[in-house]
Amino acid sequence: MRIELDNVWKSYGTGDAQFWALQEVSFTASDGDFVSIVGPSGSGKSTMLHLLGCLDLPTKGAVRVDDASIEDLSDHQMSRIRRDKIGFVFQQYFLNASMTALQNVLLPMDLAGVDGGRKKAAAALEVVGLGHRLGSFSSELSGGEQQRVAIARALANHPSIVLADEPTGSLDSKTGKAVLDMLISLNEEKDLGIVMVTHDETVASTANESIHVLDGRISR
């Protein structure tokens, strides 16, 4: 799988209030890549991630998934790409508080109509070291555990690429390192493409490649 941003511009607001979050951005992510997007708050790195994740459309330029422009895709088709090919990990985890760890991982599987979802969800949690917390609600889990559940959820439908938005941003350094190690091993062992947004240079250095974003432009 290949996701490409081709000379992408993205603005918010209109008229005098128009603000360019991204300008002339070109970038490609494929299976097996481990890229970090580094930049300060408001630099446009999360906007890049949203475009890569088919959550948003560019104002100018093109976003292509396997050479198909997402502007030509229906909302339904974009949902299918998100469901089957992309995994998301967020800084605040965004687990469903009314569901157990197992149910949170089962959710995307259920959306995809996967057979034997419970077993597979339990196996995914086992992979992230939470095989003993299947029935725990997010309120009963530590931050690190919640992020590991979020990673298991992102991996539920065997995506080609995982998009991680500040995955260690809410964690202490030790737990953050454990989460990064997990992402590294997933990239190395399962050839999973990872695009990680971070403002932390140390975290960014764990990736194979880093790109820097400043004021909506790729600086280096």
């Binding site: 998100r82 149910q103 995307p108 959306l111």
Partner: protein, 372 residues
């Protein structure tokens, strides 16, 4: 999808309870109304056909009011002179004409209906007894006053008489169970009716010619001849119009329920914006989200419907059973009412969830994520 609905329901117990209660009250009201209406219609049919008459001869006045008075054992202001009885009996096709005088009097100190008549009553009632002597007591009265055959009744209003009980009737499950049947002259004396009758029950020899007989009897002065079926139809019409009004009121309550549920669901959409946004980010299509909200509402409505059916059933057990025309009516339950009530619950569920489900389906994941 079921487990997602259950997980959400567990998280929002108070909201679930309130929504289910709202729907349950509407369904319970409808179910009880339908069951009681059927019970009242059945009681009316049973009472009128239980009279055993092909033609009712009543004094002048509203025939329906007079029939109801007769069924309830209450004296009406209008009466038929007893002298007309031989003339009535001589009309062609009249097999038997049973005079009746009814009213309330004190029986052993307690107010009760007295039903004065003649032994000819045995020809038109199916009591399974062979003679009509002394007092014939309905089963409910006997139980209420602790009476047995051979006991002497004291009946008192305009005069006081003593009368031994010859028979206690087997339960008829109609108003006869609540009457004390006594000889005609004695009833007239106690009730102060003189030589007057409340009604005459006529049985014809050839039923197919009853209309002609009714016409002949109806031409006599001071009386009117009415077929019980006509009285039944008219009273049912009257009752149906009351029932329709009640159903209309219930329908308004149900519409209010729909709006309340719609409001609840719309609020839920705003409260669950983050959850919906994440769901969409994880790959849920708009239709998936729409389905989820409709299914949740349907689940709550069916739960409310089930609770309402049980509540409606229980409510009918505690409602006064003589609420329709003063007749003792047992609520009638049928599978059809169950289906109607559940269908109403489903309509409430689906219609109240359409707008909020569409609003939820329109949620843009990117908008939600940017707001978080």
């Amino acid at each position: 999808m079921q487990w997602i609905i259950l997980a959400n329901a567990k998280k929002r117990k108070a909201r679930v309870v309130m929504t289910v209660a709202g729907i349950a009250i509407g369904v319970a009201t409808l179910f009880a109304l339908l069951a009681l209406s059927a019970g009242i219609e059945q009681a009316l049919d049973r009472e009128i056909s239980g009279m055993g008459a092909h033609i009712l001869l009543l004094p002048e006045g509203c025939p329906y009011e007079l029939t109801l008075s007769l069924m309830q054992g209450s004296d009406a202001f209008e009466h038929i002179p007893v002298e007309m009885l031989p003339t009535i009996q001589e009309v062609a096709n009249v097999e038997v004409a049973v005079p009746v005088a009814v009213g309330k009097a004190k029986v052993n100190g307690q107010l009760n209906s007295i039903y004065g008549t003649t032994p000819e009553i045995l020809g038109i009632r199916s009591w399974g007894i062979e003679s009509f002597e002394g007092a014939v007591v309905g089963s409910d009265v006997a139980e209420k006053l602790g009476l047995e055959v051979g006991d002497v009744l004291n009946i008192q209003l305009y005069s006081s008489v003593e009368l031994p009980i010859s028979t206690i009737l087997e339960p008829t499950f109609g108003r006869d169970d609540t009457f004390v049947f006594v000889p005609m002259e004695l009833a007239q004396e106690v009730l102060g009716l003189g030589n007057q009758l409340s009604a005459v029950l006529v049985r014809t020899e050839v039923v197919s010619e009853s209309t002609q007989t009714q016409y002949t009897l109806g031409r006599m002065s001071d009386i009117q001849a009415v077929p019980p079926s006509e009285v039944f139809d008219r009273l049912i019409e009257l009752f149906v119009s009351v029932k329709q009004t009640l159903i209309l009121i219930t329908a308004i309550a149900i519409v209010a329920g729909i709006l309340t549920t719609m409001n609840t669901m719309t609020m839920a959409v705003y409260e669950r914006k983050q959850e919906i946004g994440i769901l969409r980010a994880l790959g849920s299509t708009r239709f998936n989200v729409f389905k989820l909200f409709v299914a949740e509402s349907l689940f709550l409505s069916l739960l409310g419907g089930a609770v309402g059916l049980v509540g409606g059933y229980v409510a009918t057990l505690f409602l006064p059973q003589n609420s329709g025309f003063g007749l003792e009516a047992t609520p009638q339950f049928s599978f059809l009412y169950l289906v109607i009530c559940l269908a109403v619950a489903v309509v409430v569920g689906v219609s109240s969830s359409l707008y909020p489900a569409m609003a939820a389906a329109r949620t843009q994941p990117i908008k939600t994520l940017r707001e978080l």
